[in-house]
Amino acid sequence: MSATLEPTTVRPVPEVIAHEVRAPRSRHRWIDWVATTDHKRIGILYIVTTLVFFVLGGVEALLIRLQLGVPNNSLITPEHYNELFTMHGTTMVFLFVVPIMAGFGNYFLPLMIGARDMAFPRLNALSYWLLLFGGIVFYASIFFQPPEAGWFSYTPLSESTYTPSGGQDAWIFLIHITGISSLVGAVNFYATIVNMRAPGMSWSRLPIFVWTLLTYSILLILCLPVVGGAVTMLLTDRHFGTSFFNPSQGGSPLLWQHLFWFFGHPEVYIMILPGFGIISEVLPVFARKPIFGYKAVAASTVVIAFLSILVWAHHMFATPTPTVVLGFFMLSSFLIAVPTGIKIFNWIATLWRGTIVTATPLYFAAAFIVIFVIGGITGIFLAIFPVDWQLTDTYFVVAHFHYVLMGAAVFSIFAGLYYWFPKMSGRMAGERLGKASFWVMFIGFNLTFLVQHSLGLEGMPRRIYEYPVGAGWDTENLISTIGSFVLAVGIAMSLYNFARSIRHGAHAGPDPWKANTLEWFVYSPPPVNNFDVVPRVRSLEPMRDIRRQVARQTGQPAGTGDELTKV
């Protein structure tokens, strides 16, 4: 039971220690990648694949912004416009943000908890390949007719009467296939976290990122079956004559909304919780301080996850719904602000009285907080249902969720990419270019989305492919379009930075940030078996303990090798 009670001087079971295991190389290197069950390789496959989808979704976003740059634009037909925003939303949610978090999880979860691989390595490979094939099935529809009913595919618009094209079915299969991928991955994460932690890593010594992956997995396991059922009902409605969502046959379009958002709102937290985890790892390392209020940060993650399955109908405030229900979902949405606020305060308190090292990951993490505060505050406006009646389905909502997902989630992803790039590649990513990219992204992001709040208040609804000259929305739309291209340049700078640094970056060594968690104990990139010897964990910051132990054993003064000076 309690690993900490074992005597530390006696090794209870004889074990074979393998040093620096390297996989035998096949004749063709691509076979190594296709056949791999190594969590690190799968993690890299995940991250690279999802970044490709990120670029595709980004191009779709730029086309949308081009069309909206001037009034009465005829660059894109209404049909293609609807296809573009459907592809964009679906790609970013199902093929980028959710799976890239799984990519980070694949790579770093076993390393952070001192395991040699995931609990089920082959299932792990399966979940990657399902993701890739789900994405291919979905993107194959661009050669026929892509879906055009939006990423939440409201019925009856998504029924075969109104959207007969196979693109809608491709969307359904994407949800199914990537859904199974995520489910398999979530079970794997869960089993790994529960069973394979290093000796001494009790629940109170689990890194926050691992806590967030645990809740991410539980939320996926709870909510994916619901959307899986809903899209199956849509599929049978479309092809086999059922009428789950068809009002003329006794079905209900609102049933779809309830089922979809029962999944869809937790999905928001599925996307952002691991981002919270990344921020909670990055801030202490670059503030050179422990995370402030570890237990509160971990507990608030679990509380957010619990509350997130009680708020779904706040997406439906404008539907015919009794006031008491509206009031319930307003209050439950309010409640989420409490654990979220705790996180924000604890992050700022982590920086307080630290010695902050201004490396690129910290820039992204700090900007994450600013952006997330804005997105969180506009979320409060939207939770108040009478106010939501004015704001829902307008550009105010578009701005709100881009602050949370494009801003907060993507900035946390970039914080994670810059933070862990040295571990994954063995090289440092360029700092100058990283910071330049950060500023361009930050300015571009705010230029794009800040004015969209005003557009919504001025009456511009979502998902319109054109607007007339007299509507008074010209200037804001132009600013937003220019901003989106600035943002794209910023992102391209970072992607170039990574691509270049893989070959030309300075050698990182195992622990370039003098960080706290176990992934920095091993070489960069780590050997196949991860750990020759799994270290015993004695605190929340095992790497810091190890550095101190090394200093003690080599007779150096305490604190030697524990300072992060140059970046």
């Binding site: 503030a287 509160a296 309010f334 201004t358 505050i377 406006f381 108040i384 009478p386 979502r462």
Partner: protein, 311 residues
């Protein structure tokens, strides 16, 4: 010695640059487009008391939100600037402070309790229509729910009604890609498309339905959105002030707010508010127009039948 001084100066300069860059960026994204463009930061209102109620509720929230934003982001930027690594500084190894953490948890909860209380206090102004004005159209429907449910299912939401029960009802039906308005009961059910004509100073209850896909009724200055869902009936109301020109009236514009297909962008909604007498005259004219159009259609059909072109 000079070296140390210069390195301190160097650090200070770097900090200054960072602060400069930060504030410049904030200035750029917040300040410059803001006042220069007179960006709207509150919802539209003026067309109906419920829109006014929403706008004033929003303004209260905006004030509270701005204070929270300034305090939180201010603290963040201060700590980023103040606690940047410098020579000899040691990071305080603090693991937490239960009392402090409890206090900001309670603080956050308290703000939310206040927001919820304000919302529920304001709610009746937004949801419940007041009595119509003295110049309004005086049709008493005796407090009964307007209109019969007919063939559609009704949701558990009910038709709003002012305290004295004096209101008129207009049925709003969404379909790809036009709004249809049927006036009544009590007016002989004339109808119009896209532009609704409505009497000023009168409580107008809207029964919102859809015949194909989901649409959403929205005139920003007259209140919030209400989805038109096939199989359901949704309700809202407005009470528009008397326009300066009661004959031509004042036109409030909006458009469908829920994706309803490829021409969603062009599904406009307009409400032309006129004086009650002009409204009644318009209704009479509209009825005549509809009757004439039906007669013409009937005559044409008979002609075509006589020629054997249709059966």
């Amino acid at each position: 010695m000079p070296r140390a001084v210069s390195s301190v100066r160097h650090l200070a300069a770097r900090r200054g640059r960072l602060l400069g860059a930060l504030s410049l960026a904030l200035l750029l994204v917040l300040a410059v487009p803001g006042p220069a463009l007179a960006l709207r930061i509150t919802p539209q209102s003026g067309g109906s008391p419920n829109a006014d109620g929403i706008a004033s509720l929003y303004e209260i929230v905006l004030v509270i939100a701005t204070i929270i934003f300034v305090v939180v982001v201010g603290t963040l930027i201060y700590s980023l600037a103040r606690f940047r690594r410098r020579k000899g500084a040691k990071a305080a190894q603090i693991h937490g402070n239960t009392r402090l953490e409890l206090s900001w948890m309670l603080g956050a909860a308290l703000i939310l309790v206040v927001l919820a209380a304000i919302t529920f206090l304001q709610l009746s102004d937004i949801q419940d229509p007041p009595n119509g004005g003295p110049n309004g159209l005086a049709i008493a429907s005796g407090g009964k729910a307007a209109g019969s449910p007919g063939a559609v299912l009704t949701a558990s939401t009910t038709a709003p009604s002012p305290p004295n029960g004096k209101k008129i009802t207009i049925n709003v039906t969404g379909r790809q890609f036009v709004w249809r308005y049927t006036y009544g009961p009590g007016f002989g059910s004339p109808y119009s498309y896209e532009t609704m004509v409505a009497p000023a100073d009168t409580v107008v209850v809207l029964r919102i339905q859809a015949t194909d896909v989901i649409h959403s009724w929205w005139i920003p200055a007259m209140g919030g959105k209400f989805d038109a869902v096939p199989g359901y009936t949704n309700y809202t109301w407005f009470k528009a002030p008397m326009p300066k020109d009661p004959v031509n009236g004042k036109v409030y514009t909006g458009q469908c707010a829920e994706l309803c297909g490829r021409q969603h962008a062009n599904m406009y909604a307009r409400v032309r508010v006129v004086s009650p007498s002009v409204f009644q005259a318009w209704l009479a004219r509209q009825k005549v127009k509809i009757r004439d159009a039906n007669r013409n259609a009937e005559r044409l059909r008979q002609q075509l039948q006589a020629q054997g072109q249709i059966s």
